[in-house]
């Protein structure tokens, strides 16, 4: 669809950026020591730190990605919310306090606290950089993708803009300014998401979500031997048909415009052609939307209820409803989803989204995305378990999250701030279910970009809310990228230059090294963000979780709870966890599909590596520690 730049959105974004830059300049004067730069002097209040945790953690993947996924596949998208939140339990009950006690600036500090081992310093720093980069790329690509539709600027301008602002935030005042940017963003995100949910519930559900919602057409069709030979509408001419494994699509021409229709049966069991949405990409790169140029705005927004059942009766609309009533009605009703099919028509690549009426009970339970029900195999179920495992164990091993434990004064504050974070993030994740379902049935979906579900849902309630939510979406990227750059610059300046290579630096020089590292990492992030333009890189966030869960968490847990853990055991487990997770991902069916090969020929049938790489990393640590018993971690959590 076509997006028009909103001057209010631009104004709000500029206002937010000015606030952020002013804040950074204010804190710059106070950031003179390494402690102030890498850990905000350890003086952040636990409540502020808790919300900053939420601001750091709720990245574009959470806000835009999860809402969009729920809008397209229902409950399966919400499973990400549950998994991401569950991971915080590991952080709170197992990691928070000990990590605060052991470390100084980085996650490597904590791992190496009892050993002073070169191998731990090197492997943990590399792991931090790999995880941070996997996380950075989708954020930067997301920044460009947001700027293009909302501000009317090219992708590279968006990436450059976000990259430059973030470099300024981090290079001026490091963790202090980053903390307050994340605090602001976390607060705004939660408040305005809650407002949006209230508006969704107040609107309720309706068969026609808005007065100008597209009126879908259908016409009777005559079929002989699987081919449509006539339609019950003289205005249309049959010009082509494409049969895929599951569906029959017919190309009709009217007034020189070609559109695609799906062959199906209606509720009276008559054979009909049903209007679908389509994009057609020609060999010369020209793209048509429902047969017309992009500027003609023919690619309308969709998503509506097919049948609403309230108190056992079919109704046209519900009116305002409470949160439980909303979910209950949704479960008993039917919704029209739009499922995608891709095929080649002559020299053109065609993507068709056909109407698929799905019962609410199917939408509200697992199975539409994850193959655990219809058409499932042992491997598809293992894939699902593996993903849920990585989400659960990944959070507490993400370096940019772990460094936030050093910004508070004590272990007690680290614990309290984690509880604030869990409450804020948990509340937000509950909201995602209502936002996603509201978008699914609210006639707001842009089928070309499911990530825009939440901002477009806001737009259906007015331009001001849309502008605010869009500005928050930008802020979401700023907050998370700042945290990632602080983590990566810490790994370079503190773990590698200071600890590993023992480069002699004064406190001021350490700050300078941190700032230069932040600028370098920021520039690399900008370049990668531009290079990866147009690629769906959301899977990289999954990589980050899988690598973090496999490389970092076994090392942290065993260091804390197994006194026979040795430095070589830790280093080996990081290397094995990281390489095995990355190898499985690179040889997985979904990656083979991206390489252009047949996914069935992939040597490893798993897409999510956690179920293999996490136990492998634990096993490596145990075996190597048994074989190298000379330097053990002792008495870390013992009295």
């Amino acid at each position: 669809m076509i997006y028009e730049a909103s001057s209010i959105a631009v104004g709000l974004f500029v206002f937010f950026v000015l606030c952020v830059l002013g804040l950074s300049a204010y804190f710059a004067r106070k950031t003179q020591s390494a402690d102030a730069y890498f850990a905000a002097g350890g003086k952040i209040h636990w409540a502020v730190n808790g919300i900053a945790f939420a601001g750091d953690y709720l990245s574009a993947a959470s806000f835009l990605g999860i809402c969009g996924m729920i809008a397209m596949v229902g409950y399966d998208g919400f499973l990400y919310s549950i998994g991401y939140l569950g991971g915080w339990i590991v952080a709170l009950f197992v990691v928070a306090e000990p990590l605060k006690k052991l470390g100084k600036y980085t996650f490597t500090d904590a791992l190496d606290a009892k050993f002073n081992s070169k191998s731990i310093q090197l492997t943990a720093a590399i792991s931090t950089l790999v995880v941070s980069l996997c996380y950075l790329i989708p954020q930067m690509v997301g920044a460009g993708a947001l700027v293009t539709p909302l501000l009317g600027l090219p992708h590279y301008v968006g990436v450059l803009m976000v990259g430059s602002i973030v470099i300024f935030i981090v290079a001026t005042a490091g963790m202090a300014s980053t903390t307050y940017v994340q605090f602001l963003k976390g607060t705004l995100l939660i408040i305005f998401s809650a407002i949006l949910v209230v508006l969704v519930l107040n609107k309720g559900l309706s068969l026609k979500p808005s007065a100008d919602y597209h009126d879908f057409q259908s016409m009777k069709a005559q079929v002989v031997s699987g081919q449509v030979i006539a339609v019950d509408n003289n205005n249309y001419k049959i010009v082509g048909q494409k049969n895929t494994a599951k569906n029959h699509f017919v190309k009709l021409e009217k007034n020189g415009i070609n559109t695609w229709w799906n062959l199906t049966t209606n509720k009276n069991q008559e054979t009909v052609l049903q209007e679908a949405l389509s994009t057609t990409k020609s060999a010369d790169g020209n793209k048509l939307y429902n047969g017309k140029a992009k500027a003609d705005k023919a690619f309308y927004q969709v998503g509506h209820m097919a049948e609403i059942v309230d108190n056992g009766k079919k109704v046209e609309k519900t009116g305002p409803v409470g949160p439980f009533k909303f979910l209950s009605i949704f479960t008993k009703s039917k919704v029209t989803r739009f499922t995608k099919a891709i095929f080649v028509d002559g020299k053109n690549k065609v993507t068709v989204w056909r109407q698929t009426i799905t019962s609410g009970s199917e939408v509200m339970r697992p199975g539409l995305k994850f193959k655990v029900d219809k058409g499932s195999t042992v491997m598809s179920k293992l894939n699902f378990v593996s993903l849920m495992l990585a989400l659960f164990f990944g959070t507490a091993a993400l370096p940019h999250i772990l460094i936030r434990y050093y910004t508070v004064p004590s272990a007690k504050c680290a614990r309290k701030s984690t509880i604030v974070a869990i409450s804020a993030i948990g509340f937000f994740y509950i909201l995602t279910l209502f936002l996603g379902l509201g978008a699914m049935a609210g006639g707001v979906l842009d089928l070309g970009s499911s990530n825009m579900a939440a901002p477009l849902l806001a737009k259906s309630f007015g331009l001001i809310l849309f502008a605010i939510i869009s500005a928050i979406a930008f802020a979401t990227v700023l907050g998370t990228v700042s945290g990632l750059i602080v983590a990566a610059s810490g790994a370079i300046a503190h773990d590698l230059m200071d600890s590993l290579f023992k480069i002699k630096m004064t406190d001021a020089q350490k700050v300078k090294a941190g700032k230069i590292s932040a600028i370098v990492v920021g520039i690399i992030a900008i370049i990668l963000g531009i290079l990866f333009k147009g690629m769906n890189v959301s899977y990289l966030v999954g990589w980050a979780f899988a690598v973090a869960a496999s490389a970092n968490l076994p090392a942290i847990l065993m260091l804390l709870f197994w006194k026979k853990t040795t430095s070589r055991g830790i280093a080996a487990s990081i290397v094995v966890g990281m390489t095995s997770a990355l190898t499985i991902i690179l040889l997985s069916p979904s990656m083979f599909e991206r390489y252009g090969f047949d996914p069935a020929t992939a040597p490893i049938a798993l897409d999510n590596p956690g179920i293999i790489s996490i136990p492998l990393s634990f096993l490596t640590l145990i075996i190597i520690s048994w074989l190298t018993p000379h330097k053990r971690a002792k008495d870390i959590l013992r009295v």
């Binding site: 409950y75 339990i89 009950f93 009533k325 009605i329 697992p366 699902f384 378990v385 409450s423």
Partner: protein, 80 residues
């Protein structure tokens, strides 16, 4: 003395117990989703199915267990 040294810190022990409880609840959720996905569609209460109730429960349980953990840790810290 040696025996005392080998005892895990009281707060760490408490954290491990609560982590074990939550892990069990989470694992059960994943197992039901994997093996009996249709069971998750069963209406349990107020028109809500098991999937929604269990999902919300996991999120709210994390918050409640966090608060309980904090209270118990505060008591342990006061004792010291």
């Amino acid at each position: 003395m040696e025996k005392k040294k080998n005892k895990l810190d009281e707060k760490a022990k408490l954290g491990l117990v609560l982590f074990g409880i939550y892990s069990l609840i989470y694992a059960t959720f994943v197992i039901i989703n994997t093996l009996w996905p249709k069971l998750m569609g069963k209406i349990i209460f107020a028109g809500l199915n098991l999937a929604v109730i269990y999902g919300f429960f996991l999120i709210i349980a994390a918050i409640v267990m966090g608060l309980i953990y904090n209270q118990m840790c505060l008591k342990i810290e006061e004792k010291k």
